[in-house]
Homo-oligomer: 302 residues x 5
């Protein structure tokens, strides 16, 4: 209801593009070059291809994802070569140099919405925006304000908004406490986000119980779709099983995956995006998804 | 006098809608998903229906209230399905993660008035705005400034403003001290609010004496109507008795109730909104209101 | 010289209205509902009428003053009923909850000049603005900046500005030191204020010496008129004697009085405003003023 | 090169007026009523005339100076009576109440450039602006930013800018260290100032050596003219000798003098401005300048 | 892709001018008069000519460089005399008075982009902008925001942007750690910079290993060109060898050199800029570059 009539068509078209007309979101998270500096891209256990930022774009264009999420500059540098991708511009970011023990996290807006609209006008296929809020931080108020205003204005321009909402700061003892994750989902709803990305709630030693806890959070998010962060790289089957649970037990409306994809070689990463998309967008089973990942089965979407 | 001639009609119409033409306000407080995260909506003693945010809207549309108060995004997500409700947009909010012992409270503006006007233009029935001020906080100046400017601009657009005014912070020893509550009411008047929501003053162990203390605050509020926050859930009769005292002894011009309503099942909550409205808007007695709550008596307004 | 030619007539007319064409200012200070909360309006030694904010307006309309100074919202709520008064809008205010021992004082702008102009356009008789600066506070720079810009823009709109200038903060040992008061007066001049309201300088145990010290401050204020704050309520004769000294020994160009007026009953307060005005605006003697206060002599202006 | 073609004539005319067509600046510093409150204007060793701020204007109009530098309000109050003077508006100022030991100095912008342009449009002969930067303060970044933007915009309006650059703050051990003064001069150049006012560098016990150290700073200032602050009042001959050294040994392009002038009686002050101007603008010798000061020789400039 | 179609020609022309049509950047860093005050320009081991800021411009006009980088004011003062140079305006700067041990570094924007555009309109040949970000500082968020927005707007005006990215602050233990430098390069890419200036990574006691580590950073920078800061003055051959390694082993796309050039006499400095340019822009060998530096060989570019 906050999308004006004259941009509703744009909004719907962006929504359909981002969700591949399924209402579910497969978000390829490529914003870690700021958040984690080069540690996610070079070193032991990481394919050497990942040190070149073009790796993101090669994966996304040969593989299958809903949106490629990254900072404005990253997208500006490569979008001319990869014009067909759906881009989601991450509006704020911080490095991990200052730890929470030193000071509570604040991730500031890196540019204005106008700067993104200009890029869209220049032909970049921007379908949405992302913003991170650290609930419970001393700087919570600044981030809630920036997020709330951003969503209102983005909708007025026909763009989707995905909020990353993470409880973090001296006041937060257990960042993945189920009640807290459900609260985070509710905050995103109240700010008007289309999707909220949260860390999966953690219930002691039981992944399935975590997925059930996730269902509470998904309900608390109401009409705001909930997706989980993918976390650090694990073996593909475990990853796909966990995602299947998130969707079918936890009622997640998709996934947001970064390292699990881009730390692999191009070929392997491409296959993994297809497996994830099959599972997220086409209700494939875990076995089918694993078969796609292992190259034993084809998958494409259009 | 700060409503320009050309919007006075809009203002009056919003005022009459919000008060159901009675001059008294029945405000259904649905802003706690940010303030209290999910703790008010899921857990022991709370009806399971409350975890789904649509619960608010179902109650308000089947029951009876003056305005549904919530954040912009919450309203934006559901207003298309519930177009007939009167909405009051809460302009600022904070979570309860950072406690006053850690730092004084600040609740920042979540979006601009322009963002709300845009939503109104898109057809959402916004009749007013809400804003919380923590008097005595280290950040008092910021909140007074934001509130003062908001009221001036809201009136210029024909919108009502309700201020939530709570003394809180290291400098505040007794948040419900009667003199402080009366002072809070006067501050709201000086800023130009239409209504002020305060915590009921607390006089040791005597609810009736509290209502008399409230009468001092109501007088100090002058032409700004005073309503009390409903607080945590209690049994319905106690709640209605207390509200009756607030209105008939304390000269409150209505009520602002959240948890006492939405933590109940849909059916029970609907009946309670009617009981409250009967008491607030139609001068029903406590017994009549209880009868309405218990389904032994009908009530509707219009 | 900073009033543009096309608004000079408005400025002069406001100046004459505020000073009743005498060049002296009788300012009725009604801004304490924020500054002192309800403590100045309800309690021992205060007439019960003072708890109702309309008391201010009844006194001013039945009595005699140059301007009624209060916050925008207070004026907006009552100006329709009291359209003939000259209003001076206090632009900033703070409560007294946070003490100087906790942190240095900052009083923030509560609304923009534009908000006031809108109210003036809607028919409220606003002749000027007020702003408080705490010299020596850690936040001095913010207040000097806000005051300096306010004066420039107010003059450009034909409005007078009265600055309240109080040295206060950890760095200030003696707030009423004569040299400091003279300095405060000079700061107001340098910012371009029309009048400066200061606390009367305090010379140990000698009211007359204080008035002579005030003369130094008045001279240091140059073309900016100096008036003294009235302080807490004392008996009427003492008050009038002190004021007579301020004007005739201290060369004050008027007075700024609040509690001494509004804490009395309507009738008594009305007579006191006449006594003060006789002394300030018509060079009455103390005895004549006391006679007016006691109802033994009539006084009116215009 | 940052003065647009269409205002270059205004700029040149202001430059010639301020420097009396000599390229050297005689700046009469009248901004101390904020900086030093009333201590520079009233008390032992200060002529009683100095307590009245009009003293500045009488001296400048009867004597001889390049520009009278003061805050906007001071100039606005008197410019109508003294229209022929060249005014330089000091854009920021702070009082000396908060000492550096309590917190690092910050001097905030007191009004916007637009406010000054309005005053110029109203007929006040404003030829330039002044701004103080405390290098090494915790607030250095704010002042550098304000100064840098001010200079760009002032030049775009044809106004000169003089920067007062003083190293000060917890990080600064020796405020008059020659290398630091030379650095301060270079910063002013890099910000684009026309003139920089610094404290004369101090070389242990040797005024002449200080003047030679000043030559290094003057060279480091490049195309930005350097002038020295006059400091506290000393006997006239010493003052004039020191100034002669600054110009002829230290290559200063003028002087900025306040207390040494205005703390004297009108007559004496007028003669001192002439002596200073003779020395600064007309290359008079110290003896000639002393003769002018002592009234044994005439001096005027046109 | 963030350069609008109608300014793409300007952007390309600026890019070609700055890189002398080679894609490599030879940046002459003249911004140290703020960063290091006068210590880099006067004293032992520094040619006396360096105290006069015109030295920069004489070197650049007689020698050979891609862009002269300096603050707006410095360029404004001399550009009329040296109109043919390519200027890169450094947008932020701080002095070195406050040490990191006292507080984390923040370098604030000194003027707006509009101020630079005005100067460009007035005829100054501005081809690009520079901005410094201190990653890991408590003020990182402010600098990332300013940089991100600056790049978007600069590109919209056809200007290049070079980011200086230095990890620094209490949270940073080893400023030249190879992983950190690679991360810094990635941040610049994500913000959209055209070039990033980093400190060369430091691998214990082995310059060649450092150059190999630099290659990782260059790859991590993706389509953002990487250049290294020149550091303090060393003998010319060592300097040129190190630069040759940076380019041919470390894949640096140029260099950014200040002190190594301007601390020498005019003649020597001119020859060094030619040697550096030969090496950077024309793939000269170290021996050829040394021969040019020693005047045994000619070099010019056009």
């Amino acid at each position: 209801m906050d999308v004006p009539a004259d941009v509703r068509e744009t909004y719907i078209s962006n929504y359909l593009a981002a969700t591949r007309s399924t209402g579910r979101l497969m978000l390829f998270a490529c914003d870690q070059k700021v958040e984690h500096l080069n540690a996610d891209f070079y070193g032991e256990g990481i394919d050497p291809a990942d040190n070149n930022p073009e790796h993101f774009f090669r994966i996304a264009s040969q593989g299958c994802c809903g949106v490629l999420a990254g900072q404005r500059g990253l997208i500006a540098h490569y979008a001319a070569s990869y014009p067909q991708l759906n881009y989601l511009v991450k509006m704020n970011s911080k490095t991990n140099l200052v730890k929470t023990a030193q000071s509570d996290p604040y991730s500031g807006m890196l540019y204005d919405l106008d700067d993104i609209l200009l890029m869209r006008d220049a032909g970049v296929n921007v379908v949405g925006l992302g913003y991170t809020v650290y609930l419970g931080s001393d700087y919570e108020a600044s981030m809630l304000s920036e997020a709330g205003a951003l969503i209102a204005r983005a909708h007025a321009e026909g763009l989707l908004v995905v909020l990353w909402v993470y409880p973090r700061g001296a006041a937060v003892k257990a960042e993945k406490d189920p009640a807290l994750i459900a609260g985070a989902a509710g905050v995103a709803l109240c700010l008007g986000a289309d999707f909220v990305k949260v860390n999966p709630p953690k219930v002691d030693g039981d992944a399935h119980a975590s997925a059930r806890a996730l269902a509470i959070a998904s309900e608390a998010a109401g009409r705001c779709g909930l997706v989980c962060a993918g976390g650090s790289t694990v073996d593909a089957r475990s990853f796909l099983e966990q995602l299947h649970d998130q969707i079918h037990v936890g009622h997640a409306l998709g996934n947001a995956t970064g390292r699990n994809i881009h730390q692999r070689s191009l070929d392997e990463a491409v296959r993994l995006t297809k497996a994830i998309s099959a599972l997220t967008l086409a209700d494939a089973s875990v076995d089918e998804a694993v078969a796609i990942y292992e190259g034993r089965k084809e998958f494409s979407i259009e």
